[in-house]
């Protein structure tokens, strides 16, 4: 509990700093937003009204605290382009991206961890070498390129899956999986390689421990030794490092959603960027950071849960 309290104590200042950074982004913006919003006529009266409405006539610290107060109440502002509340837009798009990310993470775990275990158990064999080569290639390959190539082969040539679009899970789960399985696989590909590398080194050091020798000496089956004894201990660093990489997964959705035309968070931010819809861009940055921090906190608690040595602290 003490540990959780300390962690929460660290999270609050980080989130506040993120909010300052996100707010500061708008200072980089070229031109005066009030003039942009006033339309082509640039009527000075309208511009003044907009400035007053958006608090742009106030000193910057006052603007920040006003904005922060709104954010804390769940008000992320209004989209300049659509006129809708940004929080509502994000609420609509976020589940899509979360589904994609969760599926991507599952793919990464299902591929990365077993591959890493095989590589460590069969150290210095052809298996190890092959896993390492594939892993290095997986880290280096741009996932949006793999996405394009897979659409070409799996969707266009073979016609197995739809190449674009999205069906919500609640509407038709089969179609939902059909529209997301390929993008999720592409998304998880880089993370799978990273997890594979982490699993390999964690397994190698776990397999070197005395308790493994004891387990083997007791006559336990090799499978039991590897899964119940070595992997269980190796999982601790893997979970933590995996959580740290979740940010990369969230980043990846931007490009993947663009390629597969999935109407998620990433597509929202890219469209907002081209529409110069800055409140949406700011909100997306803020929400992703908050999400990332929250996921890290969860990983931290998981870390304590699977590592009994930390429970008393």
């Amino acid at each position: 509990m003490i540990r959780l309290g300390t962690r929460l104590g660290q999270v609050v200042p980080t989130l506040l700093l993120v909010s300052v950074l996100v707010f500061a982004l708008q200072e980089l913006m070229p031109g005066d937003p009030a003039i942009v919003l006033a339309g082509p006529l640039r009527d000075p009266v309208v511009v003044a009204q907009i400035r007053a409405k958006l608090w742009l006539d106030q000193p910057i610290p006052v603007q920040y605290f006003h904005w922060l107060g709104n954010v804390l109440q769940g008000d992320l502002g209004f989209s300049w382009r659509v006129g809708q509340p940004v929080a509502h837009m994000i609420g609509q798009k976020l589940p899509v991206t979360l589904q994609l990310s969760a599926m991507g993470f599952c793919f990464a775990l299902l591929i990365g961890v077993p591959a890493g275990v095989i590589s460590a158990v069969k150290q210095d064999t052809v298996w190890d070498w092959a896993v390492n080569v594939i892993g290095l290639a997986g880290i280096s390959v741009p996932n949006f390129w793999i996405g394009i190539l897979l659409i070409l082969v799996v969707c266009v040539d073979l016609g197995w899956l739809p190449s674009s679009g999205y069906v919500p899970l609640t509407e038709d789960w089969r179609m939902s999986l059909a529209t997301t399985i390929l993008p999720a696989f592409v998304l998880g590909n880089n993370l799978a390689s990273t997890l594979m590398r982490h699993t390999r080194s964690a397994m190698l050091s776990a397999l070197d421990q005395d308790y493994i020798r004891t387990a083997r000496a007791k006559g336990l089956r090799e499978w039991t030794v590897i899964v119940h004894h070595a992997l269980r201990n190796a999982l601790i660093p893997i979970v933590t490092l995996g959580a740290l990489e979740l940010g990369t997964l969230l980043s990846g959705t931007v490009l993947i959603e663009q390629i597969f035309s999935i109407p998620g968070f990433g597509k929202l931010v890219v469209d907002a960027v081209f529409d110069r819809d800055y409140p949406v861009v700011q909100a997306v940055v803020l929400v992703t950071a908050a999400l990332y921090i929250a996921l890290n906190l969860v990983a931290d608690m998981l870390y304590v849960a699977i590592n009994p040595r930390l429970r008393t602290g």
């Binding site: 708008q26 949006f144 390129w145 940010g247 390629i259 992703t288």
Partner: protein, 283 residues
């Protein structure tokens, strides 16, 4: 057998050259840099010259990588695209190092509140996923290759802060740094003359890996239209237009993507080799 008086530089070079993968990586990196520098000499055609009689032609003896939707030679554009990628990779990593190394050095050596503040800001920036931060910065700065490089550099800086800070704390406890302090050197002099040269190895490793990340990021930003602007060639923007003609002209997607992949792979191989050569403990 290594000689007893072998300099650290020679020792590192020997360790590096003993890894074939790292050497291959370096050779490929040198080839890509040469490609970028000598693009005007190597390219068989003007990369921006359109030809209505050669639209979307498959690879042939005349056009080794085929032609694109405007009849431009893909090979020439891949060669010129190396310029945008290498420039973005190296300059972004330099920007990141220029921001991150001084901050890490100050944080690591000053300690106390200064270190806490720098650490907290680093954590805050790191909590925004890299590409999303780069996209947001590029969006607010405006789309261009130059702004993409600034955005990637800023987004990649926190990693340098961490590496430089860790190394600086490690070096600061060494006897020669203590001695430099004891004889009355001002803190900035200790930092610049005694600590900085010794944190170069981990920073160099980080820089090599950051170049790989920056190349992918530049390709991603250009793919989205936030990097290199048309008609100038960039691997990312080539992939963007390739997507529209995927069924009719699949080669358009193949070659620029392959170029990104090979360049990033080469920098990663070189970075791994450098890490093992310069900092064997971190393996």
């Amino acid at each position: 057998m290594p000689s007893e008086h072998e300099s650290p530089g020679r020792l590192a070079l020997r360790r590096f050259t003993r890894r074939p993968a790292a050497v291959v990586g370096m050779v490929v990196v040198v080839l890509f840099v040469a490609m970028a520098v000598a693009a005007p000499l190597l390219a068989p055609f003007d990369p921006n010259a359109t030809s209505w009689s050669a639209i979307r032609k498959a690879p042939s003896a005349l056009h080794w990588m085929g032609t694109d939707e405007n009849g431009r030679d893909v090979l020439s554009r891949v060669l010129y695209g190396a310029r945008a990628s290498m420039l973005a990779g190296v300059l972004s990593a330099l920007i990141a190092a220029a921001i991150g190394v001084p901050l890490g050095l100050i944080g690591g050596l000053a300690g106390g509140w200064t270190d806490t503040v720098i650490g907290r800001v680093t954590d805050a920036v790191l909590s925004v996923p890299f590409l999303i931060l780069a996209i947001a910065l590029a969006a607010f700065l405006g789309p261009s290759l130059q702004n993409a490089m600034i955005a990637i550099g800023v987004a990649a800086a926190p990693a340098f802060v961490r590496v430089a800070r860790g190394a600086a704390i490690d070096i600061a406890t060494q006897d020669y740094v203590e001695a430099a302090r004891a004889v009355g050197n001002p803190p900035w002099r200790v930092a610049v003359r005694h600590v900085l040269p010794n944190i170069v190895p981990p920073v160099l490793v980080q820089a090599t890996l950051a170049i790989a990340i920056a190349i992918v990021a530049e390709a991603g930003l250009s793919f989205l239209g936030l990097g290199q602007q048309p008609p100038a060639a960039s691997w990312g923007s080539m992939l963007n237009s390739a997507q529209r003609f995927m069924t009719q002209a699949p080669w358009l997607a193949l070659f620029p993507g392959l170029a990104v992949f090979l360049a990033v792979l080469a920098f990663n191989l070189m970075g791994d080799g450098l890490r093992d050569a310069l900092d064997p403990r971190s393996r």
